[in-house]
């Protein structure tokens, strides 16, 4: 099938078999191909191999989580896919085109939100649309649609300082999705919010994901979060940063943490990480 690449096959024995049984996402081929990516940081005194021979694919409409111990290079990989850093070797392709820099085809969401504090919620969501030259009622309608999607219609005119962490991140998601990117890239987006808010945001993100049919690549160090959210979990190992295994999570959504099967996936990923 179209979604299977050499990266999948190399990374995991389990992912190919489970692809056919995917229920949630409609598979329309590879969205992102991470092809033998290496990243080396060199200074006068030392040479650090942050990533080595990283291969995997993210299929169209798929929700993929990237987990691993600290120092495994998951943030470096995220930044490379985002186009904020160039790989030392290998290539990242989005819809077959090599990634050479940041662009509106990849919407980014950060742990620190990265909202423009001088802009209201509405103006934050408008930012990318302004750059694309979307004007007038078309822009207003799009903003309203996004605010409705993340449930922030009533806070359209509030400044970021007036919002809680969870609300800030929903603005971040709305702003990223407003320009209709091919994929949503999120780097520990819920790392700064309390557990209860995080659970709520998980449900929201899954709802947004299924409503918009976007592809999502989500970096986290929280194994439970990864198992709860994703179709597949890319487990990374450190020194050098590499893919240890890709685990397909074959559970119906909504997923319940207390289910034995859920716990088994969590244990399996934890063992791979070495926790």
């Amino acid at each position: 099938m179209a979604g299977v690449s050499d990266g999948d096959a190399a990374a995991s024995d389990s992912s190919t078999a489970d692809d056919a049984e995917r229920t949630n996402a409609t598979m329309r081929g590879s969205k992102v191909v991470v092809d033998d990516v290496g990243k080396v940081y060199e200074s006068d005194r030392q040479r650090v191999e942050a990533l080595s021979g990283v291969r995997f694919t993210v299929n169209d409409g798929e929700f993929v989580c990237l987990v691993g111990p600290s120092g495994c290079g998951k943030t470096t990989l995220f930044r490379t896919i985002a186009g904020l850093e160039a790989p030392t070797s290998g290539e990242i392709r989005l819809d077959g085109e090599p990634v050479t820099g940041p662009g509106t085809d990849r919407g980014m969401v950060f742990q620190e939100y990265g909202l423009f504090p001088w802009r209201t919620v509405r103006e934050n969501v408008a930012f990318g649309l302004e750059e694309q030259g979307v004007r007038g009622t078309e822009r207003t309608d799009r903003i309203d649609e996004m605010l409705q999607l993340v449930g922030l219609t009533d806070f359209a005119d509030a400044y970021p300082k007036e919002l809680s962490g969870g609300m800030k991140q929903r603005v971040g998601i709305a702003r990223a999705l407003a320009v209709d990117p091919e994929i949503l890239l999120a780097d520990e987006p819920f790392g700064s919010v309390d557990a209860q808010t995080r659970d709520m945001l998980h449900q929201e993100l899954l709802r947004i994901w299924s409503e918009t049919e976007k592809t999502v690549l989500f970096v986290t160090h929280d194994v439970e979060e990864a198992v709860k959210l994703s179709d597949r979990v890319v487990v990374m190992a450190a020194d050098p940063g590499r893919v240890r295994e890709v685990v397909t999570v074959d559970l119906d959504r909504p997923r319940d943490r207390t289910e034995p099967a859920f716990g088994e996936y969590v244990d399996r990923v934890r063992r791979l990480i070495g926790e």
Partner: protein, 296 residues
């Protein structure tokens, strides 16, 4: 700001936030900010100070050594009402004025152009060096070397280039405003979070000018505003010092009156400086609070 206050209506949130935010962000340095109990204590303190001053002046009993508050107030009223004319520069038209307003107008001729030109140039260089690493590398040795020189030391060049009149005094004020604004703008631009630039790039900003206009400048605005507010105050100090060298104005009046042993007039003009500072600082704070309501 808590969410609960605005949870019922979206537009209410920002409105409700403002009064709260204002009382937090306002410091006690401006007269206009006092209220209620603070005002009562302030009044008591001020009256005690005036009483002590009056008593000391009566004990000394030599106006030129220590003019009393009553004598200063009298001198202030005399200066404020004594008619004279003020010749508008460039235009050359003499308009009726009083001694105090004429002197203040002279000083404003040094203060305003110096402040505006110095601030604009300082902000421009600060933003440029904060943004461009290459420009920063090239000019840092120069700015580091020139920065410690007090603005007043440039009086030498003010005299030989321009002459010690309005232009020379404005030049000195401009140098003072330049450095204050340069460092604040530089720090503001340097301090812009990397995330904001990355988010902007992912949302389609792909050239330097757009990035500076839509991200760097707004993000650096609080720091730039602090620079402007600091220079609004500092430039009043500088204008007085510059005028001591002979440019007509409030500062010159302070030294001129003292040389005639009319220290009550000197103190009256010192009070003028204080009043115009409080007014200009208060006005700018007001503008700042309106314009930067988004600040956390």
């Amino acid at each position: 700001m808590s969410l609960e206050t605005g949870a019922t209506s979206g537009t209410g949130t920002s409105e409700a936030a403002r009064p709260d935010e204002e009382s937090e962000s306002v410091s006690t340095s401006s007269l206009a900010d006092l209220d209620g109990t603070s005002f009562a204590y302030g009044a008591v303190g001020s009256l005690a100070f005036l009483a002590l001053w009056q008593a000391a002046a009566m004990a000394v009993d030599r106006t030129y050594l220590l003019p009393s508050p009553v004598e200063v107030a009298t001198a202030f009223v005399v200066e404020l009402t004594a008619p004279t004319t003020f010749t508008v520069p460039f235009v050359g038209v003499a308009v009726p004025a009083t001694r105090l307003t004429a002197n203040l107008a002279q000083s404003l001729l040094h203060y305003l152009p110096g402040l505006v030109v110095g601030s604009v140039l300082g902000i421009a260089l600060g933003v440029g060096m904060g943004w461009s690493g290459r420009l920063d590398d090239a000019l840092t040795p120069v700015t580091r070397f020139l920065r410690p020189i007090p603005p007043l030391a440039w009086i030498v060049f003010a005299i030989v280039w321009i002459g010690i009149g309005h232009g020379g005094a404005a030049f000195i004020v401009g140098i003072g405003a330049f450095w204050i604004n340069f460092y604040n703008a530089y720090a503001g631009v340097e301090g812009v979070e990397t995330h904001l630039k990355e988010v902007a790039a992912s949302l389609g900003v792909d050239d330097d000018l757009t990035m500076i206009r839509k991200v760097i400048l707004p993000a650096a605005t609080p720091s730039i505003a602090t620079g402007i507010r600091t220079s609004i105050g500092q430039c009043w100090m500088i204008v007085v010092a510059a005028e001591l060298f002979g440019a007509p104005g409030v500062g010159f009046q302070i030294i001129n009156a003292a040389q005639n042993l009319a220290t009550d007039v000197s103190v009256a003009y010192m009070a003028v400086i204080s009043l115009v500072f409080l007014v200009s600082d208060g006005l700018f704070r007001r503008v700042e609070r309106r314009g930067l309501a988004w600040r956390a």
